[in-house]
Symmetry: C2
Subunit: 369 residues, 2 copies
């Protein structure tokens, strides 16, 4: 079901807003007290553009939490159960932020700008509050704030050509999650090879909220030769690719080991890293659940939904489908699931769909593609 | 501008959702990772119903953060710069929650359920994370979680009659913010005299998310004799009444003294209450800004907007209008402002409106009415 959203000063406007309106955005999703464009009226064309061409996304909702000052490294390490001592300046890392119970409260990309300066490029929860609480309680000397930074993503196999045509051939050498500060006609930017798809691309972290439309137009003009068009984090592609949506695919008890993030946890972190003791215990006992893919053996194509589907075996609730999507490449409906750990790829169980129907679900490893 | 919102599992559904759809809701606003109904198609009728009759609101977005266990009182006090020792069980208090800088990060109603059990009925920020961070860092033995609680508000001069017809005449004796646990046809509820309007009323804190539509229908049926109708926290009434919208009327530097919440701060709280030292300093130095009302000397009626208006005197930026509304009772456009402390009621300054126009603004004390 699609609804209207009314304007409120609580919900901040993206610097790219007017540009996305001009380009025909039809829907949004709330995220970090802002609105993220979620469609421009032709989902299959947007999917195709991401898979085979190049798309540009207003992802200003990926807010940054900046941690700067004498104790910045100390605080950043305290927040991350991954050893950041060896992280080089100019690199980003995917990190699970956990609470003291080992539960994931956000899954940002952490960017190291300097030895004493970091950005958490966050998912949809108020990590700013969390970071400030910890710093305040520990008495760390550090400045924590949301800087004027608004990412614009350029995604798809032709993204590199577009970005190279704007910034130069050097961008082709950037490694995944590597970034560099650049100046574009006086606009300060961080340019990173990153983005919430598996189709490759870049994120332009604009550091001047007044110049969003100008940046949008530059990218659109440069991309015209490659048939660029507007898009958004793509529900179909991200389920196919097994990308995690924090808050959607997680609940209030999800730890990193349940959702394939164990490799981003270093259990030998210092004891004052938040959640590390809980994570060691969970690892030893074995997580209770796991994340798998599911193919839904049903007719028709599922659209986006805010509902989860229950998964049952012999009547017993054994998990939930947290995200549903039609897969154009697999030509079937698929989903991401959180299920009991004893469920295995190849197993079959009953899925109770949001519309009241049910079907068989066949489980598989992630990603699908 | 009004936009469509697309469904996402990150954005949770209210237990009253189907009922509000059936009653013709036309728009929503994101709040605490949920959607709050913001209109049913006839703003003036909804305003009139609130002022002169009775309205029912889906305010399930007012999530509860429950703090329970041996150290519950200790944690709750640490989070509140207001002495809670004398707070009786069965009462709610309005409290500013501040960070270590004395900045307001939420302005909940705090409900005391028992000596070792509290609910923070929160505004639109992740107070759950804040509370857990503090408890985790201090090693408090306490359970912090979001319980299955979804308020339904009944507001307006006839609200008491409606609520008495459902629960009995005793409800008329409830004091402001007093609450009591009740059972309605097997539905567990907390019934409180409260609500985000100045027209009087109650909030029914439903403690079973499966029974939202049932409760909605009971209230609607009981209210039929009083011409009840659906509504929502009302932008016009709340600006007239000077009710604060956290995140809308506040920014990342707003302290309680700036927004008329000084009377909810006890400066002689213990030193381990978060923010108390900063609040003492701010009080001594005097806050930098103050909240006033403004009458906009312009033609036409302003509708809801996500924009703030700049306020300038002799060209210098001296504040911002954080909320605009047409006032049916004053028959003029009005607003809430955060302005430099040297601006006084009766002063006049230039207001630069969201649509690009400008007008004179005449400042006044709050509330307007």
């Amino acid at each position: 079901m699609v609804h209207q959203i009314s304007p409120s000063p609580r919900v901040r406007r993206s610097p790219y807003y007017e540009a996305t309106i001009a380009d025909g955005v039809v829907s949004f999703s709330p995220y970090n007290h802002m609105l993220m464009p979620t469609g421009y009226g032709d989902p299959m064309a947007e999917y195709d553009r991401l898979l085979n061409g190049v798309a540009m996304w207003d992802v200003a909702v990926e807010r940054q939490v900046e941690v700067a000052g004498p104790d910045a490294a100390k605080l950043t390490q305290a927040l991350c159960p991954r050893k950041i001592a060896d992280m080089p300046v100019g690199m980003g890392w995917y990190v699970p932020i956990c609470d003291h119970r080992g539960t994931i409260i956000n899954d940002p990309i952490l960017l190291k700008l300097a030895e004493d300066r970091y950005w958490f490029s966050i998912a949809d929860s108020d990590l700013l509050l969390w970071a400030r609480a910890v710093a305040g309680e520990r008495g760390y000397v550090v400045n924590i704030f949301e800087p004027d930074v608004s990412p614009l993503a350029v995604q798809g196999p032709k993204a590199e050509d577009v970005v190279a045509s704007i910034f130069g051939e050097w961008v082709r050498a950037l490694k995944l999650f590597e970034f560099r500060e650049v100046d574009l006609r006086g606009m300060p930017l961080m340019l990173a090879r990153s983005g919430w798809s598996k189709q490759g691309g870049f994120e332009l972290y604009l550091m001047d909220g007044k110049r969003g439309v100008e940046l949008w137009d530059i990218v659109r003009d440069a991309g015209a030769a490659y048939d660029i068009g507007p898009g958004c984090p793509n529900g179909m592609e991200r389920v196919e690719s097994g990308l995690l949506s924090w808050g959607g695919d997680t609940d209030d008890e999800t730890n990193p080991f349940e959702v394939r993030m164990g490799r981003f946890v270093d259990l030998d972190c210092a004891d004052d890293v938040i959640g590390i003791e809980a994570l060691r215990r969970i690892k030893e006992e074995g997580p209770r659940r796991r994340q798998l893919g599911v193919k839904l053996l049903m007719e028709g194509r599922m659209g986006p939904t805010d509902r989860r589907s229950e998964i049952r075996r012999d009547g017993e609730l054994i998990g939930m489908v947290t995200a549903h999507a039609w897969s154009p490449r697999l030509e079937t409906n698929i989903g991401l699931c959180l299920v009991n750990r004893d469920l295995n790829p190849g197993d079959v169980a009953e899925v109770f769909l949001p519309d009241g129907g049910k079907c068989e679900g066949e489980f598989c490893k992630l990603p699908f593609l």
